[in-house]
Amino acid sequence: MLLTGSPSDANDVLQETAVVLLRKIDQYQADKPFMPWAKKFAYYEVLKHRNASSQRLPLLDQAVFDQISQQMEAFDPVMDARREALTHCLKKLPGHQLDVIKMRYTEDIKPAEISEMTTKPVQTVYTQLKRARQSLLECIERKLRRGAST
């Protein structure tokens, strides 16, 4: 999804990638790291997907997409640390923000419906979600910069 830009596209690509991985597993050399190898195929599949789904414009242009996929290599080592930091940061989120985040992400409720349930204007829900994400990103950043892994 980091590359496809949309969850449903990611889904398609996932399936394709898994199939390709399975097909190509014999090409994998045990002494090489697995992730880059697997990612290479994921990358090709994303490419293929982008070509195939021409009726729906991907978010990213090809050139930008290629640049970002290069970045992913460098990004890889910090993914776990970010996730760990997120665990910590979620606990610091104000209650009302955590509530909308829960509804949106674990319960898959659309903002319009959250608005209906909480009797808050839909714009407020969008704002709350946005603020929550912003706080989380900033908190993760702080946490990583401090280098604290506890």
């Binding site: 999804m1 990611a10 697995f34 993760i140």
Partner: protein
């Protein structure tokens, strides 16, 4: 955090929930092009979404750990059983070769991608598919490279706390579950409601009554003193002595009770059977439907088979063979009583599960699909008005903003419907429930279900466990699908029949049904763990099947064809007698 202007975060926020406009797309690409910092923030932003969506990610883990959920046994993992099985198997193998990192990485890659895929409508399929791929990949390593790296599986993600039970595979699969007890005492200790009953198990009920539900939905009510034994067949049961009343749904047609002197093969719905402990004589009486009875000796047919229908009874013993006996409607009082209070279920497979028990999520994991109905409370007096989704005054729009209420002072019986298909889409999934009393209200939304667990749920049952079921980590998935409006629930005009058409069962669906209470004085006994059975009401309530099938919507296995549909079973060479 320094931000370029316009900020990539702001732009991505705008496109996250909706299709980007051409202008936005252009802005985003322009911003990202050649800007490593912006690209990094793009990845960070997408990763945040991904981690939040990940069912084994920080958010879900936090919600689950706050629920302090502890499920015993080998099925505690949130993964499907086959996944657990794989882990267990590979642990038994005990290998830990050089592939360990690799396998771990396979897991994390696929787990990672899976988490992301869950945002989509086809979330489950993607999950299952990826999980299958994972297994295929791991198996490839195991078999093709002679390594067993999958031990590492157990060290990944939520599997971390898993303690596979080494004895788990020694037990034969359960053929029935103890679904209710009433003042019951057993010859062995530790017989609890919710226990799995397995082939070879022999149980003697020394006092009270108990209810068992088989895999196919047969409900057998035992009255003490009574000894039963389970055999290696889900549709058979040994009755050594005592009284048994069975209620057999259409799909379990052929259910056979074996006694020392007879086999009673159910073709219809309800019959009582009793074995005299002294003479071993078997008394069989049919309350409704059709039963074939065969005298046996040493488990071999020892005479002609007889066909029994409504209100007919026979006594069978080795000396006198088959004799007509008097039909005594009160003879199987307890069984009849509980049967008359139980909703009638149609739809395949649909199971009555009696009392909601602490083990309930575990049982559900053992089956891949179906509808279960649990009794949560009986004779509950509402202390305050309860918000429901559907009730008198509004049976049509379960998404209505103005929720109808059941007023304080109403006395209700509460049932929990649970449809769980482990992600299989069941386009024809239709279940019909007919109660013997009017339905007063339905709770169909996930949020309202969680809210009413306290006031309406079974006391002592930890409802947070529901959130630990596979693919139930999204809390609103508990209710009917409100996003796509593809699940439908209707109530018949006489308010006794509920029809659930669950066409999009991505995770699981639950509905709480409030029915007018049958017995006002049930309050004390009702709802307590281990008291799933109800006492005989002063006047037995005979269910009326008021629901009529419409001709253009045939319901396989529904109440309407329960009696007509079954082909009478006839053992070879045994002539059939009728009374």
């Amino acid at each position: 955090m320094s931000r370029p202007t316009p900020d990539i975060f702001e732009l991505l926020e705008q496109v996250w929930e909706q299709e980007p406009t051409e202008k936005l797309r252009h802005q985003i690409n322009e911003l990202l092009d050649g800007d490593a910092q912006a690209q990094k923030r793009y990845l960070e932003y997408q990763l945040l979404h991904a981690d939040l969506l990940d069912p084994s990610g920080p958010l879900s883990s936090m919600l689950q750990s706050s629920a302090a959920v502890q499920i015993e046994g080998p099925l505690e993992a949130r993964e499907p059983a086959w996944m657990t099985g794989l882990v267990r198997e590979s642990q038994a193998a005990g290998g830990q070769g050089e592939q360990r990192t690799t396998a771990g990485q396979v897991v994390s890659l696929l787990g990672y991608v899976m988490g992301r895929a869950l945002a989509s409508k086809r979330a489950y399929k993607a999950y299952a598919f990826a999980a299958m791929m994972l297994i295929a990949v791991v198996l490839f390593f195991v078999f093709d490279r002679g390594q067993t790296p999958s031990e590492q599986l157990a060290l990944q993600g939520p599997a971390e706390q898993r303690q596979p039970d080494p004895h788990a595979e020694a037990d034969p699969p359960a053929v029935a579950i103890l679904t209710g007890q009433h003042d019951a005492a057993w010859n062995t200790p530790g017989v609890l409601t919710g226990n799995a009953l397995r082939p070879g198990q022999r149980l003697t009920l020394t006092a009270g009554a108990a209810e068992m539900t088989t895999e196919l939905g047969v409900v057998a009510t035992l009255e003490a003193p009574c000894t039963v034994e389970f055999v290696d067949h889900t549709n058979r049961l040994h009755l050594h002595s005592g009284k048994l009343f069975v209620d057999v749904p259409a799909r379990a047609s052929g259910f056979t009770v074996m006694t020392p002197t007879a086999h009673a093969i159910d073709i219809g719905t309800q019959f009582g059977i009793e074995v005299d402990p002294e003479s071993q004589s078997t008394h069989i009486q049919v309350h409704k439907g059709l039963v074939h009875a065969v005298p046996v000796e040493g488990n071999q047919p020892a005479g002609q088979m007889i066909e029994l229908t409504d209100n007919q009874a026979v006594a069978i013993n080795s000396e006198a063979g088959i004799r007509q006996a008097s039909f005594d409607p009160a003879r199987f009082e307890q069984g009849l009583s509980t049967a008359s209070h139980r909703p009638l279920l149609a739809g395949d497979p649909a199971r009555w599960m009696g009392q909601l028990t602490p083990n309930y999520p575990i049982h559900l994991k053992q089956s891949s699909e179906g509808l279960w109905v649990f009794a949560e409370r009986a004779g509950l007096l509402l202390q305050e008005a309860i918000k429901v989704n559907l009730a008198e005054g509004n049976w049509e729009d379960r998404f209505a903003e103005e929720k109808p209420r059941l007023s304080a002072g109403t006395r209700v019986d509460v049932y929990l419907l649970h449809v769980h298909t482990l992600g299989q889409e069941t386009p024809s999934g239709r279940y019909v429930l007919t109660f013997d009393r009017p339905v007063l209200g339905l709770i169909t939304s996930g949020l309202l279900l969680w809210e009413t667990d306290g006031p309406l749920g079974a006391p002592g049952f930890d409802y947070e466990k529901i959130a630990t079921l596979p693919f139930a980590s999204r809390r609103d998935q508990r209710g009917l699908d409100r996003l796509e409006n593809r699940d439908d629930i209707t109530v018949s005009e006489d308010r006794r029949t509920v029809v659930l058409s669950a066409v999009s069962l991505k995770y699981m669906d639950q509905v709480r049904i409030l029915v007018q209470a049958g017995q006002a004085d049930n309050t004390d006994a009702a709802g307590q763990q281990g008291t799933g059975l109800r006492r005989m009401p002063a006047e037995p309530v005979v269910p009326e099947h008021a629901f009529e099938l419409q001709e253009d919507t045939p319901l396989p296995g529904s109440i309407g064809d329960e009696q007509a549909g079954a082909e009478p079973w006839q053992p070879n060479g045994i002539p059939l007698l009728t009374l």
